[in-house]
């Protein structure tokens, strides 16, 4: 099976029902995607599958073989932060930052579909991502900073 992660093709021999999160973290050593719940309830493991935000903890590798998988590690291009990352760096919203990769991936997906979301749209689309440190309002600020004016 071939997994296309961040533009790199990985030939892996795995049972197709293994969760993508586990493969990313343990086989491919892409540990930016985090485990928080394992049931699609927290968003810490969010990656993009062909551009769509997906919870990698409940996504099997079999279902994404051959598709374009983007993780937090794939956002930076040639040492330059993705604009959404740059906005988060500038806003500095996080405390422990464990939720950060999932938040940023969800935000990237949101802004791609809706470059200038209203606050309500942000809340609606980010509601599946938990920040237990409670930095929500500052995360909203960062997303607004990354929005097209």
């Amino acid at each position: 099976m071939v997994l296309n992660v961040n533009g790199v093709k990985h030939e892996v021999s795995l049972e197709p029902d293994v969760e993508l999160l586990s493969v990313l973290r343990n086989e491919l050593e892409l540990t930016g995607s985090k485990y928080g719940c394992g049931e699609g309830a927290c968003g810490a493991c969010t990656v993009l599958i062909n551009g769509t935000p997906s919870r990698s903890c409940i996504t099997t590798v079999g279902s994404v073989a051959g598709k374009e998988i983007t993780t937090i590690e794939g956002l930076e291009k040639n040492g330059t932060l993705h604009p959404v990352q740059a906005a988060f760096l500038e806003t500095d919203p996080f405390q422990c930052s464990y939720c950060a990769p999932g938040m940023i991936m969800s935000a990237v997906a949101l802004l791609k579909n809706n470059p200038a979301p209203t606050e309500d749209a942000i809340i609606k689309s980010m509601d599946g991502n938990i920040c237990r440190c409670g930095t929500y309002l500052n995360i909203i600020k960062a997303i607004k900073l990354a929005s097209k004016p």
């Binding site: 540990t31 928080g36 394992g38 760096l89 405390q95 939720c99 409670g134 930095t135 929500y136």
Partner: protein, 716 residues
């Protein structure tokens, strides 16, 4: 070691404070410089602890009991400033704020500072990162240590140049002679030196109103590594040959393992099994194999039925309370009976506090490795030295043979004091003879960690028509003694805390019992104000004689517009205040209750004061985080349990606040440059629950008495 079920177990802070320092071997300056290279080091010890007269001239061994050392700062020969502290970073951003403090005093750019935190081989003993003590204590020590180092630089330059110290000034990592404009860098000064100095009380620390680096917003110093996913939390770490650990868990609390068949699991290639009493653990080359091996184990357990559940927990806590032995809040004052008799109104209420979980987004994780009899464990813990001690005890080896390293971790909120995953990983690694990583699942974190205690608080009070509180009886069963003392002027009172027999493991939590005690007290205070038809703010101001408390109350009320509130249908307003661990807080809340009795928190205004502010943005984050976390405990968080089982041990079943739960939040931070900086991770959580409760009372006339207030979002 463990936060087990025995009655006093939830006061880990006290145990931790009296814990013996990990090593008493002393700080040997030769070893020290071998480890860190030459240069100048300043350790936080009292002058007379050093017995090294003529230190600079005759380098020898200065033995300082390490128990007396709180932190040290080292200026290397290359000018790098390293700060060694046992405090750890769990998201409160002290890596940044402590750097700011040192940069300020030492007059160096913040980028030249390297913080070495939470590594028991490198840093001085520290009881742990909790109780909001990092900023007041560690911050204070580091300020003095850095000021001492700065003075030493000036003295060394003066000696070099034969100049007068007065004419010299430290600036930008250099000493400058203001008269001749001569300059010399710290690195030139420290080259070839091996100086170890005690902190001098003479060194002048920079007052907060002269701060240039501290007191300002500085971004998280290693922020980029987090937003790129590069930072390695313990759960992300991997060592060559590392195995993945899994533990066989009991089906319920207090279950005993009757029999276990591990043959099938053992037959799986690469699987290592440790079976020792009720402990059965697996190490395997992949997560999958470990999970498969766990499934292949056939275990029979004898369960204990008839354990308390939410249905009868409050009764149980009162029934099993020990009459004595609890931390009493001190001698009663005045004559309570007389006080109640002289009241125009008396009021009695019982408040119930449910158990809640910390839910750190990163569950417990540890990676253990044995090498030549020495154990190294990377663990996400707020108490690296406590974990070191637990491991040394468990394996009966000296503490020097145990190194605990704590990389910046996925939060704790008081929930990561214990060493469970570290012990498990170390046991498996010992047998497997390979490094083993154990990462708990969310379900394990919910079930096998510990909770904020549940409790029952009985309050009886009397009030006079003029607003005098004439009597106050406050009895707390099991939730703990933090902030139990009333902050109001009350002539007659009895206040006590009685530990009970808790059916669930309980331990520290952000603010400890302050969330419960302040909830009960501040709910009751608003009830009293209503009884005498006095405004709840005015009633508090009348009964407070603490200027800092009055100041936060007035500031919050003003920012909230308390004096000019309208009376829209269904809307209600509440206020609450308190102090804890050097932080003062007042919170105002507006709620709306619609015709379906659904409650919505519309807005929250919170004034907070904790002395001089070190980093405004990060302080605001901490206050915000406290309000949001407090909101969960106020509105809907509760552990659902019965017969030794947690019934909502997942994030889909246990609700924590999300984006859509967050009301409008206004934070007013009061900067008291004339007061020492206190921590902010805890006091900011205590006002939100009673403020919301009092607002619901204002809106509906219904005075709720249980936390969480509206688990289903609807008033019943």
């Amino acid at each position: 070691m463990e936060h087990s079920n025995h009655p006093h177990s939830f006061e880990p802070m006290n145990d931790e404070l009296t814990g013996e320092p990990a090593t008493k071997t002393g700080l040997d300056r030769r070893k020290f410089f071998k480890l860190f290279g030459g240069g100048l080091a300043v350790a936080f010890v009292l002058q007379d602890m050093f017995s090294f007269a003529g230190e600079a001239a005759a380098p020898g061994t200065a033995l300082v009991p390490t128990s007396q050392v709180g932190a040290w700062i080292h200026i290397g020969e290359d000018g790098t400033v390293s700060v060694f502290t046992g405090k750890v970073e769990v998201g409160q951003n002290i890596r940044t704020s402590l750097s700011q403090i040192v940069a300020e005093e030492l007059r160096v750019p913040i980028s030249s500072i390297k913080m070495v935190m939470g590594d028991t081989d490198l840093v001085p003993f520290d009881a742990g990162t909790f109780g909001s003590r990092s900023t007041p204590q560690m911050g204070g020590q580091l300020r003095k240590a850095a000021a001492t180092a700065r003075q030493a630089m000036i003295d060394m330059a003066a000696k070099n140049w034969g100049a007068e110290g007065k004419t010299l000034q430290a600036l930008d990592g250099m000493v400058i002679n203001r008269e001749t404009n001569k300059k010399i860098t710290y690195s030139e000064l420290t080259k070839g030196q091996q100086l170890l100095l005690p902190i001098s009380d003479q060194a002048r620390v920079t007052p907060a109103n002269e701060w240039k680096v501290a007191g300002k917003t500085v971004k998280k110093i290693n922020g980029q590594s987090f937003i790129t996913g590069k930072h390695q939390y313990v759960s992300d770490m991997k060592l060559p040959g590392m195995l993945y650990g899994k533990i066989l868990r009991a089906p319920s609390y207090n279950a005993k393992l009757v029999s276990v068949d591990i043959a099938k699991a053992q037959a799986i290639p690469g699987v290592v099994i440790v079976h020792d009493g009720d402990f059965v653990g697996i190490a395997a080359p992949s997560v999958r194999t470990a999970a498969r091996a766990l499934q292949a184990i056939n275990a029979k357990w004898q369960e204990t039925t008839q354990q308390p559940s939410n249905a009868n927990i409050f009764e149980h806590l009162v029934k099993t309370a020990s009459a004595s032995g609890g931390r009493n809040a001190g001698a009663p004052k005045g004559d309570l009976e007389e006080g109640l008799k002289s009241a125009d109104f008396t009021h009695s209420k019982t408040y119930n506090i449910n158990y809640i979980a910390h839910v750190p987004l990163e569950p417990r994780a540890a990676l253990a490795q044995w090498e030549d009899g020495k154990l190294t464990v990377w663990a996400g813990t707020q108490r690296p030295f406590g974990v070191q001690e637990d491991l040394a005890d468990e394996f009966k080896i000296p503490k020097e043979k145990v190194r605990v390293i704590m990389p910046d971790t996925g939060s704790g909120y008081g929930g990561k004091h214990t060493a469970e995953a570290a012990l498990e990983a170390a046991r498996l690694a010992l047998q497997a003879k390979k490094p083993v990583k154990v990462v708990w699942t969310r379900e394990e974190e919910f079930t096998w960690a510990y909770f904020r205690p549940g409790g029952v608080i009985e309050v009886s009070s009397g009030v006079k028509k003029d607003g005098t509180i004439s009597g106050w009886k406050f009895l707390n069963y099991n939730s703990g003694g933090s902030a139990i003392n009333t902050q109001y002027k009350i002539a007659n009172h009895e206040i006590a805390f009685l530990p009970s027999n808790t059916p669930l493991k309980q331990g520290s939590y952000r603010g400890l019992a302050a969330t419960a005690n302040v909830f009960a007290r501040e709910s009751h205070i608003t009830d009293l104000a209503r009884l005498i038809k006095m405004d709840q703010l005015e009633f508090r101001l009348k009964n407070s004689d603490d200027a800092r408390l009055t100041a936060v109350l007035e500031t919050a009320a003003k920012a909230f517009g308390w004096k000019s509130l309208g009376r829209a249908t269904g809307h209600g307003y509440g206020i609450a205040c308190g102090l804890d661990k050097g932080g003062y807080v007042a919170t105002c809340a507006e709620v709306m209750v619609n015709s379906h009795k659904e409650v919505k928190v519309i807005r929250v205004t919170q004034a907070f004061e904790c002395g001089a502010i070190v980093n405004p943005l990060h302080l605001e984050n901490q206050i915000m985080g406290s309000i949001v976390q407090g909101l969960g405990g106020a509105l809907f968080e509760a552990i659902d349990f019965a017969d030794g089982k947690i019934r909502n041990s997942s994030l889909s079943a246990y609700r924590v606040p999300r984006f859509s739960d967050i009301p409008k939040i206004d934070i007013v931070m009061m900067d008291r440059k004339d007061l020492p900086s206190a921590g902010a991770g805890e006091a900011a959580i205590i006002g939100i629950a009673p403020a919301i409760r009092n607002a619901i009372l204002d809106a509906t006339g219904k005075g709720l008495t249980t936390l969480p207030l509206i688990p289903n979002g609807v008033l019943t």
